[in-house]
């Protein structure tokens, strides 16, 4: 039943990210089981599913953040534009510059707003001059919709902003290194509805430039912002397809139950 339910997206020429037979273990816990997934470029792919189903674990495996957890092991293959990201030749530092990440809890550095955004460009040497760096910071804050709110206080601490502003600062910080993919791990779960609406709007704008993968607990959010949706359950993908399709006409009973709120 599982195999039949997984809709691989054949209509795309080349997916940005392709996961093949991915298995992830924490010590003896088998967190991700045989996941195959193609993530299309310049679109928002939502990963939904009940708590503990492995969606965050899978998301973190795309930029190898799981490497920082000693007990975590992985088999299978994940490719980014055809490059195996778990290949020995791949530099994890460069990979993370190509695949940026926004976390559940807004986590600005205890530095100024400017330094928060400039952090990535500085360590990757993306700016050749101070004016260059100013430019990157300006563009990133502009794209994240934060510029008008913070332009007069770039030297105040990023931690002093409100929750929604902090999260947009974290998004600005991520787009400052100009990644190809942005991973978002429940970016709105710590925010109020208004801040959430602003971020969702931002996500919709950002997909014009970036490939976005978002983990979310909110069905409505997945429906609003994403074009593709993958439904995770107990470490497996039960269903993957166009968001409109999944939400209106789910093929798997479990998906339907989850989406209609019968459990989860």
């Amino acid at each position: 039943m599982d195999k039949a339910a997984v809709t691989t997206v054949q209509d795309l020429v080349q997916p940005t990210i392709r996961a093949t037979n991915v298995n992830i273990y924490y010590d003896d816990t088998h967190a991700i089981k045989d996941v195959n997934l193609d993530i299309p470029p310049k679109a928002v792919t939502a990963l939904i599913g009940p708590s503990g189903c492995g969606k965050s674990t899978f998301l973190r495996s795309i930029n190898r953040m799981n490497d920082t957890i000693p007990s975590c092991r992985m088999t299978g293959q994940i490719t980014l534009y055809g490059d195996d990201i778990y290949d020995k030749k791949i530099d994890v530092v460069q990979l993370r510059a190509r695949v940026g990440m926004v976390f559940q809890k807004p986590n600005p550095f205890p530095k100024s707003i400017y330094d928060n955004v400039a952090y990535g460009p500085r360590i990757h040497g993306l700016a050749n001059s101070d004016a260059d760096l100013d430019n990157i910071v300006f563009n990133s804050l502009q794209k994240s919709g934060l510029w008008d709110e913070v332009k007069d206080r770039l030297d105040t601490p990023g931690t002093a902003l409100s929750g929604g502003q902090r999260q947009r600062l974290c998004i600005a910080r991520t787009i400052a290194i100009n990644p190809e993919v942005i991973l978002m791990d429940e970016p709105c779960s710590a925010l109020d509805p208004i801040a959430t609406a602003i971020i969702e709007e931002l996500i919709t704008e950002l997909k014009e430039r970036f490939t976005i993968v978002i983990v979310t607990h909110s069905m409505q959010q997945a429906a609003r912002v994403s074009q593709k949706t993958a439904f995770f359950h107990l470490g497996k993908i039960l269903e993957f397809g166009d968001t409109s399709e999944i939400f209106t006409n789910p093929k798997v009973e479990k998906t339907k139950d989850y989406i209609t709120g019968r459990y989860g």
Partner: protein, 460 residues
């Protein structure tokens, strides 16, 4: 019968009262505990304390004021000529009576008057004690009786006990605070006496420390000079050397422990490092005097330097080793307290481990690290043993770490050990040094605490 026995009797009263009170509470509701306002044990404790506390208070009064009371009664019974003695002589006389009463050696020939006075003293003491003891037992019994009588299902003994615990905690913290106040004020009083001998400016800004004073007016000798600058300079020099060693080693080992070490390695290294903190300072002193100082000296000779066998460098190095665990375990705590989310954010942006440590973790943990540093500094300033053994006693005013220097604590030790006249400037100067040292470490601790407090507010 003595005070210990008396307390034992009170405990017996309290225990009985506990049992009776508890049983009375249970009886009053026919054994159905939920009909009681509080648990049966609460009633037991209520009754027990009703029996114990009044007696305890009377014993405390006896301990605090009993001696004075007995003295005064004895004095009143003594003749007119004793009462008319000067305060000082009367105190001496009373001392002799007391000592004679316990058959100790006294400062004057034993006369009949003195003997009878001592006997009178012993008798009075015994009588007064009995008055106190009997009234303690009596009041406790009465109070226990009334306490037990008060026990009823409506009595909120649980709440009363809660309040009593609060008072008890307040008393405990008051003891700590009052002790500090007492120590400081006694330091201040003696320091003021010292300042009658030596002007404050000489003490604070004088460049020469040589506390030898003439013992007799006709003695040829120096009148002593009490400039504390060389001592504080020596302290500062040794402290700086110690921190110069301990800060990098301690901080870097903390970084290794928190950021790099695998759990197994951490479990092995951390207790080992903290073992350093358990070594008595006198052992560090041996090590400094017998291993480090000769090693420095011989390596100095190898490159043609003349180095004293006691040097600031030897003491400072070993003191640095001593405070490594302090810095590393405090830094370890603050570095671990940096939220994992900040590390994730930095790694997520493609930073390496070192970049993350340098740009994110150390700046975030900096206030905590600074306060660890200041606490370590006040520890180093107060350290005595290592300096006595490795740096010497010579109060040289020098910035050369290869010379012998001395520190404030070492001089205090030197001034107060051995036979001393209590009212000479030499002895009194120890208290002035102690007060100055206290002021400095208090200041450092104060800053450290301020920084820690500010730091704690930083995340969320």
């Amino acid at each position: 019968m003595n005070s210990i026995l008396l307390i034992f009797v009170l405990i017996v009263i309290a225990t009985t009262s506990f049992i009776v009170g508890r049983r009375r509470a249970l009886h009053s509701v026919g054994g159905i505990i939920k009909d009681l306002h509080s648990l049966p044990n609460h009633y037991g404790w209520f009754s027990a304390l009703a029996g114990f506390l009044p007696g305890l208070i009377i014993i405390l009064i006896w301990i605090m004021f009993g001696g004075t009371l007995v003295d005064n009664i004895t004095l009143a019974a003594l003749g007119e000529e004793i009462r008319n003695l000067s305060d000082f002589d009367r105190t001496l006389y009373m001392n002799d009576i007391r000592n004679l009463a316990v058959q100790d050696a006294i400062s004057r020939p034993v006369t009949e008057t003195l003997k009878s006075a001592a006997q009178y003293y012993s008798r009075t003491q015994e009588n007064i004690f009995w008055i106190f003891a009997l009234s303690a037992i009596g009041i406790s019994t009465v109070s226990a009786f009334f306490g037990i009588k008060k026990v009823s299902p409506e009595l909120r003994s649980r709440n009363l006990l809660e309040r009593l615990i609060l008072y008890f905690l307040v008393v405990c913290s008051a003891i700590a605070i009052l002790t500090t106040v007492g120590i400081v004020s006694s330091l201040i009083v003696v320091t003021l006496r010292f300042l009658e001998h030596v002007p404050l400016t000489d003490f604070l800004f004088g460049l020469k420390w040589s506390p030898q004073t003439a013992l007799r007016p006709d003695q040829v000798g120096s009148s002593g000079s009490f400039g504390s600058i060389p001592l504080f300079a020596g302290t500062l020099l040794i402290t700086l050397i110690a921190l110069f060693i301990a800060l990098p080693v301690g901080l870097l080992s903390a970084i290794y422990m928190t950021e790099f070490a695998k759990p197994k390695a951490r479990a092995f290294f951390k207790p080992l490092l903290e073992l350093l903190a358990g070594i008595p300072t006198v052992v560090y002193g041996f090590f400094a005097a017998l291993v480090v100082a000769p090693a420095i000296r011989s390596s100095g000779e190898a490159i043609g330097l003349e180095i004293a066998s006691e040097s600031a460098l030897a003491a400072g190095l070993v003191m640095g080793i001593m405070i490594i665990p302090l810095i590393s375990s405090l830094s370890d705590d603050v570095i671990s307290a940096v939220p994992q989310s900040l590390r994730d954010a930095s790694y997520g942006l493609g930073a390496t481990k070192t970049e993350t440590i340098l740009n994110i973790i150390i700046p975030s943990a900096l206030p905590g690290i600074v306060s660890a540093f200041l606490l370590a500094a006040s520890r180093a300033i107060g350290e005595t043993m290592i300096v006595v053994m490795a740096a010497g006693m010579a109060a040289n005013l020098t910035a050369n770490p290869l010379e012998a220097v001395t520190t404030v604590t070492v001089q205090i030790l030197a001034l107060l050990t051995g036979d001393q006249e209590f009212d000479s400037a030499k002895t009194l100067s120890a208290f002035a040094l102690g007060l100055a040292l206290f002021a400095i470490t208090l200041f450092l601790n104060f800053i450290a605490l301020k920084i820690v407090r500010k730091y704690q507010e930083q995340y969320d």
